[in-house]
């Protein structure tokens, strides 16, 4: 199952566009076949058929009449599809609102405050409830990026100084992948994220878990990890709610252990990759904002930090 394909839609908007895609391909194939057929007739057929093609009338019919008729119909159809996949009317209380901010080369995701509880900030992962419109409000923290979740809808650019919106909706639980589609610098290729669609109840549970501050270390080793995190200066860029670290330059790590990936989809997420990333971020994703800490940490310290971060579920 491809998690990032236009042809495997997971919601109504993606499905409408996939349907349009098949229509365009079908129509295109027929027209392409017809042009090749004309060409073959012109080259090889008998004098009578060739004479029919060799006229100004044929040029006008095939070159003007046919495209005007077909494209006129297509234009009406795409206006209808366009309306069906457009944003819900403003003020629609049903629609959920999630803010995404693109940064070189990761995604900040903000869940605003709702009736059920406070807002919070997370990164590189968007969780949504199935069966409900979600309006992504996208902006940029540095250069232009573009959000693309092909299974759910087309892309929308993140442009400095602007807020753009795109509505998505999933109709079954599952995981989808999204990626940056506007070239944004050296590691544009490694700027992906996951979308997790959950049943409404699971979604509420997830919200509740995310709202909680980071868990206290359960043992001495994890406590050491927490201490090292502070000593080498991780908190200068990263926030961990429930601790003294509140910086916003890098991803919020409050529940980093619960995420599906590290470094915006570049790595799987477990203790080993965490340690590898901390030690060698510049080797794994050269040019990203995170320094390599291999020289600053010895083996046990590195393992402890990784273990502590992994425990932040």
């Amino acid at each position: 199952m491809n998690l990032q394909s236009v042809l495997s839609p997971a919601g109504p908007y993606g499905a409408q566009i996939a349907q349009l895609t098949w229509l365009l391909f079908g129509g295109g194939a027929v027209i392409f076949g017809a042009v090749l057929l004309f060409l073959l007739v012109a080259l090889l057929a008998g004098p009578r058929s060739r004479a029919t093609l060799g006229s100004r009338r044929f040029v006008l019919a095939a070159g003007v009449g046919f495209p005007v008729a077909v494209l006129g119909l297509l234009l009406v159809h795409i206006l209808l599809v366009g309306r069906a996949v457009s944003l819900p009317v403003p003020g629609d209380a049903q629609a959920l609102r999630i803010e995404m901010i693109g940064r070189q080369f990761w995604w900040e995701v903000r869940y605003p405050e709702t009736e059920s509880g406070a807002g919070f900030v997370t990164a590189n992962e968007v969780h949504i409830p199935v069966g409900r419109d979600v309006v992504l409000e996208v902006a940029s923290g540095d250069v232009i990026h573009s959000v693309w979740i092909p299974a759910l809808h087309g892309k929308i650019d993140m442009i400095p100084g602007r807020v753009n919106r795109r509505v998505i909706r999933a109709d079954r639980p599952g995981v989808m992948r999204g990626q940056c589609t506007e070239y944004c610098g050296v590691q544009h290729a490694l700027m992906a994220f996951f979308v997790v669609a959950r049943t409404p109840q699971e979604y509420e549970d997830w919200l509740q878990r995310q709202r909680r501050p980071a868990a206290e270390p359960e043992d001495e080793f994890l406590a050491m990890g927490r201490r090292v995190f502070g000593e080498v200066g991780c908190g200068a860029c990263h926030a961990v709610r429930g601790t003294e670290w509140t910086a916003r330059l890098g991803p919020d790590l409050t529940h980093v252990g619960s995420r599906l990936s590290l470094a915006a989809g570049a790595l799987d997420n477990h203790r080993g990759t965490l340690a590898g990333w901390i030690a060698g971020a510049q080797d794994l994703k050269p040019g990203n904002a995170m320094p390599s800490f291999a020289a600053a940490l010895d083996g046990p310290e590195l393992r402890a930090v990784a273990a502590w971060l992994e425990s932040l579920k």
Binding site: A51, V143, G287
Partner: protein
């Protein structure tokens, strides 16, 4: 000998041939001597269009090969997922240079080169009217393009994509000189493209063979005319964008920085206002070539000549209304999206007309599958497929999905390789005999075709699928498990196959392409004038034309032309000459003297390139030195190569036609060139106006000008405006003085006009500075000073022109009759004054009318 004037129009079919036999002793030898190309190391001074055209095309081909090598390296990196053959930064430089080079260093120059090479022969002109300008454009391009590629070896090549979107390319996110290589290097090459376009427009409209009215002009000339006009209106937008971004990078003027009132979308509008027509700028000449090759290949006249000519013009118009379809995902309101969708659909009509006219022409003739025809058929296959995906991406919801994915990579390569490369190769095989008299190899050519056809389709067809399966563009790697692996491997194998085709093509060119100075032979039996026997002087005599395929309609024409029985069989002044005809009916008007080989334009090109390159690497003093030498060289070139004056009273070109060798005003080609240049200039100024209007609209909420901006009082700008108007008045008076033969008074008045213009522009600049406005604070101030930058640039141009005219006047080279130089400066001056006044109105009045403060 000459028939009495009353007898017949010398251009008519019934009139006797213009010149009788036998031709005088030594006439042909003198023609050969005058048009001989320089030998040995002086070859670099060559200006003959056949040589410059070939050098131009060869250089474009070389740059194309470099760019292809980059693409092969990128395909090697992408062959398998998570590959580490190329590092991210290197890959990014490669795709930026690949795209930039293919667009600016290969595609546009290659079709321009084809025009420079073919047009004089096709129109039976001895040369285009400004051969040194073509040569200058070529050398500037060759040197600039080489430097651009060399930047790769130092790791300082541009890495912001060929579209260079700020703020990624702004100083904060691209602090190195990589982006400057793009801005200055490419900006400068665009100037050379404009120089070529001016040459082509004036050449096509004024240098056609007598009797070749617009309705008898070959379709390739129609295509090149539309091409050149499109350059005139499209390239200024990207040049202006380049100027703004370089001002932002160098001096921190925030045009594109949102936190100081700028807008990154301003760049995108300007860039795509150029970038979309660019696609058709590349395609139309190739389509024109196809409309020449097919009739020869099937030995039948083009079906729907008028429709095709109309389609070329229509494409040119429509292509300026499509730029937003590159910006569907930027959050633009859906109403305007629908408009641009519909406009994008509309452009399929002229393309459809051409495709079906070609098929219809094939149907009326007797097709023979020679190498050029194979490439034409390959072109139809690939281009139609690319056109169909083009319709798909005009469908907004679909485009939201495939925009910036490999689907687009597939689409654009289908359109550009199908629409431009295949016709170009068809053209090389078809027209090679016009240079050498011999065909290139049929066996090799057939291999080249099949390798390229299979390779190109195998490379790019799978990209449609990898794009739909989620592969974005401009990624140096992709992960395993997305199902992208087989499609990428197929693309890489296809690229290898296509590369073999290119190698074989190079082999065939090396073995079989030659330029011979007396090419004869018409192996494909073409009907148009480029198949007349040619020397460096083009056709021996300039034929009178009565139909679109003169060689088919008058089998004796070749022999008549070669014997010198048509117009101007020799030389009348002992210099290089060509007949200038009227723009629509092509009636002979005068014999223009055109310059021969020279060093001025070569040195000017080298030093202009040196100037921009030194600026890029921030060697300001070296740049100043290069700039000074370049200006000196241009003066030398103009002084010795233009405005020869009436060397003889009348020139007898045969058929009783006695033409002047010197005209002034709207009849002269120099006047036409100046008018086209002013159109370029005015379009750029239009982009400045757009900059103000767009920033105002985009900043409507926070306010533009921003709150707290003090606009200067209008008293001092009123004085500045009066000074500028006064300078125009003085130029008008200098014209009166010149008419009375008082050329010194004219020069003095012109220098006075210069003083007034400089005073006016400086006064206005000071007004803003004194009002406390600083360009780094906000986009409003930056846009105001951008106007001053532009007016200041014109003040410098006027200064150089005024001093040049004064010098010519003091040297006695300007008078009441010999005044083309003066006339050109005069109309440019009136334009510059009007533009300066409009600029003042823009910066002072627009914020008062539109401002929120």
């Amino acid at each position: 000998m000459t028939p009495p004037e009353s007898l017949a129009d010398p251009l008519s079919r019934d009139a006797p041939l213009p010149n009788p036999l036998p031709r005088p002793e030594g006439e042909l030898e003198e023609l050969e001597r005058i048009w001989r190309r320089p030998r040995g190391w002086r070859f670099v001074t060559v200006v003959n269009n056949n040589w410059i055209g070939t050098l131009y095309l060869g250089t474009a081909g070389l740059f194309c090969v470099f760019a292809v090598i980059l693409s092969l390296l990128m395909r090697a990196q992408l062959a398998v997922p998570a590959n580490d053959f190329l590092a991210a930064e290197r890959y990014n430089q490669f795709f930026t240079v690949h795209g930039t080079a293919m667009m600016f260093l290969f595609a546009v120059p290659a079709v321009e080169a084809l025009g420079v090479y073919l047009l004089p022969a096709m129109l039976a002109a001895r040369d285009l009217p400004f051969p040194r300008l073509s040569a200058f454009a070529f050398w500037a391009y060759a040197i600039g393009g080489t430097a651009f590629f060399v930047s790769l070896f130092f790791g300082v090549a541009p890495n912001g994509g060929w579209f260079m979107y700020p703020p990624l390319t702004s100083k904060e996110y691209s602090p190195g000189i990589n982006a400057d290589f793009w801005l200055l290097g490419i900006g400068f090459i665009e100037i050379s493209a404009i120089a070529g376009a001016i040459e082509i427009i004036v050449g096509i409209l004024r240098n056609r063979a007598p009797g070749m009215s617009l309705s008898k002009m070959p379709l390739f000339a129609w295509a090149m005319l539309v091409f050149a006009v499109m350059i005139v209106f499209a390239f200024p937008a990207v040049i202006w964008a380049t100027i703004l971004l370089e001002l932002e990078r160098a001096f921190d003027w925030p045009f594109f920085l949102a936190d100081r009132g700028g807008d990154p979308l301003l760049w995108q509008h300007l860039f795509w206002f150029f970038g979309h027509p660019e696609v058709y700028i590349i395609f139309l000449p190739a389509a024109g070539a196809v409309s020449m090759i097919i009739p020869a290949m099937v030995q039948a006249r083009m079906v729907g000549y008028g429709l095709v000519a109309l389609a070329l013009v229509g494409t040119g118009f429509l292509s300026f209304g499509l730029w937003v379809h590159h910006m569907f995902a930027t959050g633009i309101p859906s109403l305007s999206l629908s408009f641009f969708s519909a406009a994008s659909f509309a452009v399929t009509v002229p393309s459809g007309i051409q495709v079906f006219a070609w098929i219809a022409t094939i149907a009326t003739g007797r097709p023979s599958l020679q190498v050029p025809m194979l490439f034409i058929l390959g072109f139809l296959f690939i281009f139609v497929l690319g056109g169909l995906t083009g319709v798909m991406v005009a469908v907004v919801p679909f485009d939201w999905q495939v925009h910036d994915t490999y689907f687009i990579v597939a689409h654009l390569h289908y359109v550009l390789i199908g629409g431009m490369v295949f016709p170009l190769i068809a053209g090389v095989y078809y027209w090679a005999p016009s240079a050498s008299g011999r065909r290139m190899s049929r066996r090799l050519g057939t291999w080249v075709f099949w390798l390229l056809f299979v390779g190109v389709n195998l490379t790019f067809f799978p990209m449609h699928i990898s794009g739909l399966m989620g592969m974005p563009r401009r990624v140096w790697t992709y992960p395993e498990g997305m199902g992208l692996d087989p499609w990428n491997m197929a693309s890489t194998i296809g690229a290898g196959i296509a590369a073999c085709g290119i190698l074989l093509l190079i082999l065939d060119l090396v073995l079989h392409f030659r330029i011979s100075n007396d090419a004869e032979g018409n192996p494909y039996k073409g009907g148009t004038l480029e198949w007349l026997p040619q020397g460096n002087y083009a056709a021996r005599s300039i034929p009178r034309i009565h139909s679109r395929e003169p060689l088919w309609d008058n089998p004796a024409l070749e022999e008549e032309v070669k014997q010198g029985r048509h117009f101007l069989p020799g030389t009348v002044t002992g210099l290089r000459e060509t007949i200038v005809t009227s723009p629509v009916e092509a009636r002979p008007q005068y014999v223009a003297i055109i310059p021969g080989p020279g060093w001025g334009h070569v040195i000017a090109a080298i030093c202009t390139a040196g100037f921009f390159l030194s600026l890029t690497v921030q060697l300001v003093w070296l740049a100043a030195a290069f700039g000074a030498v370049a200006i000196g060289a241009v003066v030398w070139w103009l002084w010795t190569g233009t405005d020869y004056g009436p060397l003889i009273e009348k020139a007898d070109i045969g058929g009783g036609l006695r033409l002047p060798v010197y005209v002034t005003g709207p009849d002269s080609v120099g006047w036409w060139a100046m008018v086209v240049l002013i159109l370029v200039d005015a379009t750029t100024f239009g982009c400045l106006i757009f900059t103000h209007a767009f920033l105002w609209l985009s900043q409507a909420q926070p306010g533009w000008p921003p709150e707290g901006t003090t606009l200067p009082e209008l008293a001092s700008p009123a004085v500045a405006a009066a000074l500028v108007a006064g300078s125009a008045a003085l130029v008008w008076l200098s014209d009166l003085a010149l008419r009375r033969g008082r050329h010194i008074a004219m020069a003095v008045l012109m220098l006075g006009a210069l003083a007034l213009f400089l005073g006016g522009v400086t006064l206005d600049l000071g007004t803003w500075w004194d009002a406390g406005l600083r360009p780094t604070v906000h986009s409003f101030a930056a846009a105001v000073y951008a106007n001053h930058f532009w007016q200041g640039f014109h003040a410098v141009l006027l200064a150089m022109m005024a001093l040049y005219v004064a010098a010519r006047a003091f040297a006695g080279l300007i008078g009441p009759v010999r005044r083309v130089t003066f006339d050109n400066v005069r109309i440019f001056w009136f334009y510059a004054a009007a533009q300066a006044l409009a600029g003042m109105a823009l910066v002072h009045l627009f914020p008062r009318l539109a401002g929120s403060g």
